[in-house]
């Protein structure tokens, strides 16, 4: 019996936070204003109100209230809303790593891919962003147009999974 639950989450504001100049200065302004650092590549960070997930060298996916961010960016970057096109899916249970190996190309079974880590990958031909919330929870950000199909794929794949260790 595999232990993974697939739960679509309610729609939430999601934005792209991009820096095009003076990254060090922006990082300092961010730390000063928010009280924590911008997460590094492959990492996520923030608070319950504002989570930032770094996916590219100069790009973060931001979940939550972005009101403070334009002032921090100034003329060094931009915020763009993208939430309408993304469905958040929570994968919970001990076997979420095994589920992500199905039709995947990314080593979700690597223990180093732990809470606070993020990744962009392809699962069953769909581009998906991942954020590890805890040992037993991983949030996936799925394109709206593929969400129905990928949820169905995950539901099917969750039957007969190969446990990470056997």
């Amino acid at each position: 019996m595999t232990d993974v639950t697939i739960t679509p989450l309610p729609a939430a504001p999601l934005h792209v936070f991009e820096i095009w100049s003076n990254p060090s200065a922006v990082a300092k302004r961010f730390s000063a204003a928010m009280g924590y650092d911008l997460p590094a590549t492959g990492r996520s960070g923030g608070t319950e109100a504002l989570r930032l997930i770094r996916f590219e060298p100069t790009v973060w996916l931001v979940e939550g209230d972005v009101a403070p961010l334009p002032a921090i960016l100034g003329d060094d970057g931009a915020i763009t809303a993208i939430g309408g096109g993304i469905v958040r899916v929570r994968l919970s249970g001990a076997d979420w790593r095994s589920l992500l190996m199905e039709s995947g190309v990314f080593n979700a079974e690597d223990p180093a891919f732990a809470a606070g880590c993020s990744a962009s990958t392809v699962i069953d031909h769909v581009n998906v962003r991942l954020h590890v919330v805890s040992d037993d929870v991983c949030d996936a950000y799925v394109p709206l147009s593929y969400a129905t199909a990928l949820l169905h794929f995950w539901e099917e794949a969750s039957h007969g999974l190969v446990p990470t260790h056997r």
């Binding site: 003329d75 993208i82 309408g84 096109g85 993304i86 199905e102």
Partner: protein, 927 residues
């Protein structure tokens, strides 16, 4: 034919073969179970329908191919030696009629002298039509199993895995290697194609028994290693990526959880191949009959399955290993009537066998066998040049060992010739792969020169290729081993020459007067053993390999019961028929509603990019071939984009939402290509620009409202004056913020409403209510196509086909005169402005209906001068019209041509006209 360790009480699994019920023991292969039940005739050969039995005990089996399962689970060409019996198994023999024992196709065996290698090429020539006639009968007569006609009800999965060390093969070498690496802290995967571990130890447990195998496996697992049984390493790809095919259910069986097979994509830090070797047969006359079996296979049936495959046995060998078989068979109760050893002198093993009472003959090579369809009766050999015969029902042969080097070679490796073993062994590796065990160190053997009738001495059992066929190919000039393979079909089909290739190479080398390595090798290609098409497709097999992309309002449209249209990966409504309307009737009604009143449609799939930053305008002046930076805030314009060679590759609209923020739209089908282009320009060509370009294709759902009453509808929806043509306005509909763009694709006054996709449903509902109130209706892609063709708007993938310049499409007047855009330099190439280019024109029918895709000719039989890219009817007046590309088209208005479509058998007389059939001045856009 029950062996000493086998009794009837243990046979608890019921199965059928050709409709007859038998019983098997758990762990039996079908081959073992058939032998245990006295069934020796299992199949018929591909070409001559010769009776065939069971030759091997593994995946190399060329003869015992059966069809198993029923309905969609039916699996043809399954090796009886690689199929474990389950309760209820249904197996059928193949390529025979009316039954296996009495097969009318066997008449081809009598005609064999007239059907040598390459007889197709010598016999069935002439016109293609005649070949179509021949082909029907050839296909009826030849072949293996038939593919199922029903859909497979089971699922197939692809799974990724990563490890430090992948070990292929769980024989003694593989188990030991896996254990050492696992206990050294490495992440290990051990793959074994059999259902149980041990490989050769199952057959020869003298030194390391099953307890050692079990203990080793336990230690590997305890150290974190993963052991996969029924899993074959089928392909070795770049960067040490190895694909493993795992059977979760036996062929034809209903799988637990519905999952039949899994394809592992293993990325390994290091690969260790402990793949062992495959025993080779010996060529002699009628060496394909039931009762001819490889030596190690005979030993396997005795030791692993407790089945004695023959009572009076001749053993023929050129090595010491076969003496183990003789001992095993004798221990099981068989009478060893002769051991034919091709070597001139007695080896130590032979001497020991002789001392144990076996009749060992040196300089002895099998000449022929005799028998009936179901069994062997006599073995004849040349012994020191003299012919001798023995009554026997089994000949166990061992012609040496071929190391399994397939994966090593698929990984790009090279081979070395081992003279002592008469075999190729791995030499240089091109990836991080090592070969160990029997695959690296095959046993020494003595070369055997066949002495039997070459016409009946088979080397490729699956394709009925004899030594005479190789000789014939040589005589007819086929010198390369690759040509030999293709001419004779040797080494093809499901076994891919695992038993035959070395024998063929030996014969070819003999003919060439060179050594075997000098004769060359064919290519080792994946897969190592056959892989189901369903497994290759994986989970996507059920949806043609790709997920359907759903628009945000998919469910809303579904309630309207539209005709759906695949458009790239998307599904979009093509039309909304009412009552008994056909597609054409519905589309025409919808298009007329737009021309006379108002209609609305879903345009969510358009590519959309939000471009922001102080340098956003400068960036778009590079991306777009038209001027963007001069747009006022709140205004938009049509634009198009060029490749670096100056060819148009996409088009759309660009809108200035704020001083430093733009919305760029482009075609649905080109969305991914445009995203890549924008990213390339942003990151490589213009990294210095202070700009962010984000795809918002899915963030916004889009609703288009078009028609003479569109403005009234929009005024009512937003409670304000709708924006004028090519202007934009933020507004609210149904309490939800929207962006209204006044743009027209239909040729009428029109608006596009963009709303965050997750809030699109109430906005759509409000728009639909208002459009209905205005007397309008929904329209789909088909009506949209009618409207745009009549208006003369180009579409990417149709008129914009990767060959047209802006001038060819009459768009050159819109080019940014300041230059600086991508493609500006490419456009200056003289060839792009020379006469003779295809140009964008309209066509109207003088007689007949213009077929889409038709070629344009001046007269019948002349060379095409262009083609029809899109065809439709005038929406209000009728009459066939089309858009086309025509050589020097702009100078040919008024000329009459023929639009001819030979593939559809249609043609029409047409007149070349301006492509804008409707409101060429654009007056209907404006209030």
């Amino acid at each position: 034919m029950t062996g000493p360790s086998r009794n009837a009480a243990g046979a608890t699994l019921r199965f059928t073969f050709d409709g007859k019920t038998y019983f098997a023991r758990p762990g039996d292969t079908l081959a073992a179970a058939l032998l245990a039940n006295g069934v020796a005739l299992v199949g018929r050969s591909f070409k001559y329908h010769r009776p065939r039995g069971i030759m091997t005990a593994g995946i190399e089996e060329p003869n015992a191919l059966v069809t198993v399962g029923e309905g969609g689970r039916r699996e043809p060409n399954t090796r009886a030696t690689d199929l474990f019996v389950y309760d209820g198994l249904v197996a059928r023999s193949q390529n025979r009629w009316p039954n296996l024992s009495f097969d009318l196709g066997a008449v081809f065996s009598l005609a064999a002298p007239m059907l040598p290698a390459g007889f197709y090429y010598k016999t069935f020539f002439g016109s293609a039509k005649r070949w179509m006639f021949y082909e029907y009968f050839i296909r009826k007569a030849a072949g293996l199993g038939n593919a199922p006609t029903e859909a497979d009800p089971d699922r197939f999965s692809h799974r990724a895995a990563f490890c430090d060390v992948l070990v292929v093969g769980a024989g003694p070498a593989g188990l030991q290697a896996a254990l050492e690496h696992a206990e050294a802290g490495k992440r290990v995967i051990l793959a074994e194609q059999d259902a149980v571990l041990g490989a050769s130890l199952i057959r020869d447990p003298q030194e390391l028994d099953s307890a050692w195998v079990e203990a080793t496996a336990t230690r590997i697992r305890a150290a974190g290693g993963r052991i996969l049984t029924r899993t074959t390493a089928s392909g070795y790809w770049e960067h040490d990526l190895v694909t493993l095919t795992e059977r979760l259910a036996e062929p034809g069986a209903k799988p637990a959880h519905g999952l039949a097979q899994r394809l592992w994509h293993v990325r390994a830090g290091q690969v260790i191949l402990a793949t062992g070797s495959i025993e080779r047969p010996i060529a002699f006359a009628h060496n394909d009959r039931p009762g001819v079996m490889l030596s190690q296979a005979a030993r396997t049936y005795v030791r692993r399955f407790g089945v004695l495959p023959g009572k009076r046995v001749v053993v023929a060998t050129n090595n010491d290993d076969a003496y183990l078989t003789a001992a095993a068979l004798r221990d099981a109760g068989a009478d060893i009537v002769a051991i034919l050893d091709a070597r001139p002198d007695l080896s130590a093993a032979a001497t020991a066998a002789q001392a144990a009472g076996h009749p060992v003959l040196t300089n002895a090579v099998p000449l022929s066998v005799d028998g009936a369809r179901h069994c062997l009766t006599k073995v004849t050999a040349k012994v020191d040049g003299q012919t001798q015969s023995w009554p026997a029902d089994l000949i166990a042969v061992s012609g040496g060992f071929t190391p399994v080097v397939h994966l090593h070679m698929q990984a790009g490796g090279t081979l070395d010739w081992n003279e002592a073993a008469q075999a190729f062994v791995p030499k240089a590796a091109r990836q991080n792969v090592t070969t160990i065990g029997g695959a690296a160190n095959p046993q020494p053997v003595h070369p055997v020169v066949p002495v039997g009738n070459p016409k009946k001495s088979f080397i490729d059992f699956q394709n009925d290729v004899s030594l005479a066929d190789v000789d014939l190919a040589w005589a007819e000039g086929y010198r390369s081993v690759e040509h030999l393979k293709r001419y004779t079909t040797l080494g093809m089909a499901t076994d891919q020459g695992k038993l035959s290739n070395m024998a063929a190479l030996g014969r070819l080398a003999e003919k060439q007067g060179v050594s075997i390595p000098e004769a060359g090798l064919t290519t080792f290609r994946p897969p190592y053993t056959p892989v189901s098409m369903g497994l290759i497709a994986g989970a996507s097999g059920k949806n043609a390999g790709a997920h359907m992309r759903r628009i945000a309002l998919h469910d809303v449209h579904t309630q309207k019961n539209p005709i759906w249209q695949p458009l790239g990966y998307w599904f979009r409504p093509r039309a909304y028929p009412q009552g008994q309307e056909t597609l054409a009737q519905a589309a025409l009604r919808e298009a007329r509603a737009v021309r006379t009143g108002v209609g609305m449609t879903d345009v969510s799939t358009l590519a959309k990019f939000e471009v922001s930053g102080p340098d956003a305008a400068a960036f778009l002046d590079i991306i777009c071939a038209t001027t963007v930076s001069k747009l006022a805030v709140g205004r938009g314009r049509y634009t198009f984009m060029l490749r670096e060679d100056g060819i148009v590759f996409d088009d759309g609209t660009v809108w200035r939402l704020a001083e430093d923020r733009f919305l760029l739209t482009s075609s649905t089908g080109g969305a991914d290509r445009m995203a890549t282009h924008i990213s390339y320009v942003r990151q490589y060509l213009c990294p210095q620009l202070r700009v962010s370009a984000v795809t918002v294709q899915e963030h916004y759902a889009g609703i288009a409202i078009a028609g003479p009453k569109a403005k009234a509808a929009m005024d009512a929806l937003i409670g304000a004056d709708a924006p004028r043509h090519m202007s934009t306005l933020p507004a609210t509909i149904a309490g939800i913020p929207v962006l209204v763009l006044a743009a027209s694709y239909s040729g009428e006054r029109a608006f596009e409403v963009y709303v965050e996709a997750s809030h699109a449903a109430p906005v759509w509902a409000a728009c639909e209510a208002e459009v209905t109130a205005q007397g309008g209706c929904l329209y789909g892609l088909e009506a949209m196509e009618f409207l745009r063709i009549e208006k003369g708007h180009v579409v990417v993938g149709g008129e914009v086909d990767g060959r047209m310049t802006p001038a060819d499409l009459a768009l050159d007047k819109m080019l940014n005169k300041a230059g600086g855009y991508i493609g500006a330099t490419g456009l200056s190439r003289p060839a792009l402005s020379e006469p003779g280019r295809r140009q964008f024109v309209g066509l109207e029918a003088i007689e007949g209906t213009i077929p889409e895709g038709a070629m344009l000719v001046s007269a019948e039989g002349q060379s095409p001068q262009g083609h029809v890219s899109a065809a439709a009817f005038r929406i209000m007046d009728g009459g066939s019209i089309a858009l086309a590309q025509l050589t020097d088209g702009f100078s040919r208005y008024g000329e009459e041509l023929i639009a001819s479509s030979p593939t559809r058998g249609q043609k029409a007389r047409v007149r070349v006209v301006h492509p804008h059939f409707y409101d060429a001045a654009g007056e209907r856009y404006r209030d």
